[in-house]
């Protein structure tokens, strides 16, 4: 995984989980209106320990164990935000967020709009998402397509330790509701990192070229970034020099960075875990085709999860986009006219 160069003295190995924890801690320390809430976020520190120690440090009123009820959690957060707080809501697992969808779609996403800007809702909704951890049913969904299809929501997903910190700080500071998708299989990924170091803190809506190349662009985000980086290394043996773009933000979508990259390389593959039909890759491929048609040497291809309900853990390796599937797809970019 690529890391941002920082002063060696200021850094030490940190996990994405620690960076997320630190982001909340710093936000809570700086702004008394930031409240963390959800099921198990208090004494337990969350089932993934992302909120570890927050209740102890800031009290149970600032880091609150709620009843087990996602619509209630998010609905209460709406009311709290209406009164001027900045709730940071934890949805324990991707598929556990579904009971809250009416609150999300009918109220959270629309409140600014329906009140003509009078009542923005600065809510951050943290959703651990994606597979690859051997979780049983309802613990591994990639639900980003639902979120990106809902106007009014901002949707971001970090793939690195420093982005986890920076994007979460930016999300909590945002005056709009943000779906903060946490790639749970990267929770324990490590990097040399320090929040004090002058790391590159991304603004929401800024993609980043993680690896430059000339033969084709891999466009990806979240849990698929390390897979794409590995694929790009492996592709060198095949004579392919791949560029990798990490979107970091699905809404807003940094079209300019993507388009510039594809115009340079002339070929593109979108990679994500969620299903292909109606997935974010479909939108990205359409946009790239619209904007880069005359630069393209081949159709924009996609490597995605299959269009199936998330499989049981013993079969998930066949479903998730892996290095081989990416390389096979890259090979198909050798388009014969």
């Amino acid at each position: 995984m690529t890391t941002v160069a920082v002063k060696p003295a200021a850094t030490k190995p940190a996990t994405m989980a620690q960076a997320l924890n630190r982001a909340m801690r710093d936000a809570m320390a700086e702004d008394p209106t930031v409240h963390v809430m959800g099921e198990d976020v208090g004494a337990l520190g969350g089932v993934f320990r992302i909120t570890d120690g927050l209740a102890k440090e800031f009290g149970e009123d600032r880091c609150t164990d709620t009843p087990l009820a996602e619509a209630g959690i998010l609905g209460a957060a709406v009311g709290m935000a209406m009164y001027g707080l900045r709730p940071v809501v934890e949805m324990q697992f991707d598929a556990f967020a579904y009971p809250a969808f009416e609150q999300l779609i009918s109220h959270v996403a629309k409140m600014r709009n329906r009140t003509r800007g009078a009542m923005p809702l600065p809510i951050t909704i943290r959703v651990p998402y994606g597979g690859g951890i051997g979780g049983v049913e309802h613990h591994c969904d990639s639900s980003e397509a639902y979120y990106v299809a809902t106007p009014g929501l901002t949707v971001v997903t970090p793939a690195t330790v420093e982005d986890a910190y920076g994007l979460l700080r930016a999300s909590i500071a945002s005056d709009d509701p943000v779906i903060f998708l946490e790639p749970k299989r990267l929770y324990w990924s490590k990097a040399d990192w320090s929040p004090e170091a002058p790391a590159v803190v991304p603004g929401i809506g800024e993609a980043l070229v993680r690896r430059t190349g000339t033969s084709a662009t891999l466009i990806t985000y979240g849990p698929s970034l390390p897979v794409c980086m590995e694929a790009a290394e492996a592709a060198r043996e095949e004579g392919w020099d791949l560029e990798v773009v990490d979107l970091r933000s699905l809404v807003p979508f940094d079209e300019e960075t993507v388009v510039a990259s594809v115009r340079r390389t002339g070929r593109a593959v979108v990679v994500h875990e969620s299903g292909g039909f109606g997935g974010p890759g479909a939108e990205i491929a359409a946009r790239v085709t619209e904007r880069c048609f005359h630069h393209l040497e081949a159709p924009v291809l996609r490597v995605t999860g299959f269009d199936i309900p998330y499989p049981p853990p013993m079969l998930e390796k066949h479903h998730l986009p892996g290095v081989d599937r990416i390389l096979d797809t890259v090979a198909r970019l050798q388009w014969e006219n």
Binding site: A69, M82, Q103, H107, E256
Partner: protein, 384 residues
């Protein structure tokens, strides 16, 4: 197979509770009265505050006139739809009257009258139903949440807001309104549970008007009353005659007082009746008989109070006329406001989606701008 024949029947499936757990034994005071609470026409009416009741009367008359005017505007096509509260005015008005200025009202789509009774301009209250924008007012300015069309989803908002206010040390109570049908929704349950666990300063007002569009209460719930539901969450449930504004005012005031003093939430079931159809799109004759409607018309909230006040010499012809005149003035202002075509800016479509417009929306806004400009030029061309 009966329960007794099931394998393991008779054996105790319940392990002995650990010492830390005890069932609550203080639930009895939470139970609602067996009959809806009434004041008008009972000895309790002796303690009525004449000034307050005269205000209630004027508000009821105004509310009835508001309902009639809004319904007329629907027939004229000025409103896309209007869910009437004829027969329910006492609930709507009492809800608004018991709140202090700093308190918040969380209305459903049917509760525009409560918003008007709280002081909102009727035109602003009806903007959603006219169709020019979803919310016609600044919720913070009036402390009235946007009218909620999805059922019961505004209830957890009320809980969250009240909780937040209490965390900040502010003296704020939230009053959330929902219908009988809304009590079947999951959000009703979650809001009640959160409110009780958090002891949030919230009052839930359920207007049981008999029908959720066409489905009667008997097909909505098997509970003895809706007020009984409160007990399961650990808050008092109150059953009150929703057409008796004196009873409504008393019960709501008590609940607001309890919330304000840190006593936690209350759920109130107001038993009332929707005299008119669900909306102008509904045909109420398909699901209920005239006799039932007529029986409820005989229990009219305005007549109940008028009878009480005139019998006690607290209201005379001039008082009745004054209330009617004020109501007519409101209706005239509402007609004028509604007859003025709203000025709409199509570019507003993109103005309030995000704090910072996305590139995608900028593109789409430019497309609409170009379409509008082209249409304008065409119009100018036609004119010359």
């Amino acid at each position: 197979m009966t329960v007794q024949e099931l394998p393991g029947a008779g054996a105790s499936h319940r392990s002995t509770p650990p010492p830390a757990w005890r069932p609550r034994t203080d639930a009895a005071p939470l139970l609602p009265d067996p009959e809806p609470y009434r004041v008008l026409g009972t000895p309790a009416a002796d303690r009525l505050d004449p000034e307050l009741m005269r205000r209630c009367y004027a508000e009821l008359v105004r509310g009835r006139r508001y309902n009639a005017q809004a319904t007329a505007l629907t027939r004229q096509g000025r409103l896309a739809v209007y869910p009437s509260t004829v027969g329910q005015e006492a609930c709507e008005i009492a809800a608004a009257m018991v709140l202090e200025e700093q308190d918040w009202l969380f209305p459903s789509y049917r509760d525009t009258l409560a918003a008007v009774a709280r002081g909102l301009d009727p035109v602003q209250a009806l903007t959603l139903l006219r169709g020019d924008w979803h919310t016609g007012y600044d919720p913070r300015e009036h402390r009235i949440a946007p009218l909620s069309t999805p059922l019961a989803t505004q209830l957890p908002h009320a809980v969250g807001l009240a909780h937040a206010a209490r965390l900040r040390g502010d003296d704020v109570v939230a009053l959330a309104m929902v219908g009988d049908g809304g009590t079947s929704e999951g959000d009703f349950h979650e809001a009640m549970n959160f409110a009780a666990v958090w002891q949030a300063p919230v009052v839930f007002l359920v207007q049981n008007n008999g029908f959720a569009i066409s489905v009667p209460l008997a097909k909505q719930t098997a509970a003895p009353t809706l007020a009984h539901k409160a007990v399961g969450y650990g808050m008092p449930g109150r059953l009150v005659d929703g057409n008796d504004i004196a009873a409504m005012h008393e019960v709501l005031s008590e609940a607001v007082r309890r919330a304000r003093s840190g006593g936690g939430p209350t759920m109130i079931e107001a038993v009332t009746y929707r005299i008119e159809a669900h909306t102008n799109a509904d045909d109420a004759t398909r699901y209920r008989g005239d006799a039932e409607v007529e029986a409820w018309k005989a229990h009219d909230p305005i007549e109940l109070l008028e009878r009480e006040l005139t019998a006690r010499g607290l209201l005379d012809e001039s008082g009745i006329k004054a209330a009617k005149d004020a109501a007519e003035a409101m209706a005239a202002a509402l007609r004028d406001g509604m007859n003025a075509e709203p000025v709409l800016d199509p570019m507003d479509l993109f103005a309030h989606v995000y704090a910072r417009q996305t590139g995608r929306l900028r593109e789409q806004a430019a497309m609409l701008r170009a379409e509008l400009d082209a249409a304008e030029q065409e119009e100018e061309g036609d004119g010359s």
